[in-house]
């Protein structure tokens, strides 16, 4: 029974709503779809008892009608657990996880700047990565947004 299956069984045993949602893609890679409201409990359990003590990064996805947010957690010996949650586009609110990982602040600010999601509980700080005079309401990484650089200036 490889380590990945142990983690999978542990997840399914602890949280029955994850019944068929955990998928092992290859050695050291586990993908799991989690409902947004259960995220904190799964996160708390994985960090405290399963040794997923490093946050690699947080990825934002624009999936047409909903936003996807993937939390990539990794253990000391290289296994990555990718927890994916979906939040509606009209009310894109998230809770911050900076109390587990202070370094998550930069990744969450990226979600706010580039997708327009709202992350509550973030400490005060400068915005990242867009400049201060960036026009409000422009979210570059949304599918509909087209960059306006013409071909001559490096556009394609």
């Amino acid at each position: 029974m490889t380590k990945e299956e142990d983690v999978q069984n542990e997840l399914v045993k602890k949280f029955d709503f994850l019944k068929d949602k955990v998928k092992i893609q290859r050695s050291r890679r586990i993908f799991a779809d989690v409902a947004a409201q259960d995220l904190r409990s799964v996160l708390d359990h994985m960090i405290k008892n399963m040794g997923f003590s490093f946050l690699c990064t947080i990825t934002g996805l624009d999936e047409g009608s909903v936003f996807g947010v993937v939390y990539h957690l990794s253990t000391k010996d290289g296994m990555i657990l990718n927890l994916k949650i979906r939040i509606p586009k009209d009310k894109p609110t998230l809770e911050t996880i900076t109390e587990y990982f202070p370094s998550a602040e930069a990744y969450e600010r990226e979600l706010m700047d580039l997708f327009g999601m709202q992350v509550e509980g973030l400490p005060k700080g400068s915005r990242y990565p867009l400049p201060d005079d960036w026009p409000a309401g422009e979210f570059p990484l949304r599918k509909g947004w087209k960059s306006k650089t013409s071909k001559q200036e490096g556009g394609i």
Binding site: T57, P102, A106, S147, T149
Partner: protein, 407 residues
Amino acid sequence: MHKFTVPIGPQHPALKEPESFNVLLSGERIMKFSARLGYNHRGIEKACEERTYIQNVYLTERVCGICSHAHSSCFVQAVEEIAGLEIPRRANYIRTLVGELERIHSHLLWLGVAGHEVGFDTLLMYAWRDREIVMDILAKLTGNRVNYGINTIGGVRRDINTDQIKDVSKAVKKLKERTEYYVRVAKEEVTLIKRLSGVGVLLPKDVLKLGAVGPTARASGIERDTRKDDPYGAYGELDFRVITDDHNDVYGRTLVRLGELLESYKMISQILENIPEGPITVKAPRKIPAGEAVSRYEAPRGENVHYVKSNGTDKPERVKIRAPTLANIQTVAKMLEDRNLADLPIVIAAIDPCFSCTDRLTLVKDVGHGKGRKMRWEDLHSHSIQWYKARGIDFSDLNKKMEKLLK
């Protein structure tokens, strides 16, 4: 003591790339330190979504000038994992060889920059003179000194013949002797040790909490190296030691980087001895089937994480690039609490920040291109505002402030 805030950057001789730090000083001691990033943000993740996979290999190579092979290999591994391609062993060996050569040139470059930050320009001149040896080898192997372009989806683009192998081993022997000299200098030069030790202290528990990666974490005793934990390329078949150090400060990071150089030489000679025969590439489809993958690569500065999601077309749906410096920059604020201002450049340089890696997305601002007519500052300024207004982005409130200023 009277407190005042010293703005450092975005343009500053100590910083090779634009990033801005506000340092609250009382006398010479740093009380508070805040970083504002995003000046070198070029919209690479959005650009990746508009380009095909083949074009993206060269685009991800230009995320950073020093660790270009790291980003392109990380991206190519993710795409190969989604497409289910099994690349030949020889291609893996060549990709790992170029990766280690890049680590050598990046660490030697860092050694020089660290020397310059503490005012030891002789170390800069000698370290960068020896770095030329590895740059010439890379130019001979891959056809270019920096953006090697050796990676393609399904393998590598150039093979390595026997006399190139001889050149590389000769160069590695010379570099090994030079690096041993630098290790002696780092251990015996009193002014260098004085300026590096006890500076930028980062305790092991902070490393875990703040998520530092690479030599910054390994210098605080955390044994975390993606080549060992999550082997990719040919690292599964090479034996090497993960260098850690327990100085927890900039001096420890120097020793860790020098130790890693020596390990890289060992690995390169292993690669050159038992590089397998066989093809160097596998035919890759233009359209990658739908799927997603996370790939990690141990870049010279730390762990690169790439997340690629494909939707069956020949353009990726999402490419997320997390560079090591984004993880390490959070630790600089902790390292600099009540230190001296004089230590600030070396502490920032110690995490070997690469901000072109960190800021990957920016809209390229277009200033307009008349038929070569002479434009004074005012019309150039108003022209750019009109150009933007025509495209629906309006800076009107900024505009009024500027007008008042110019009057």
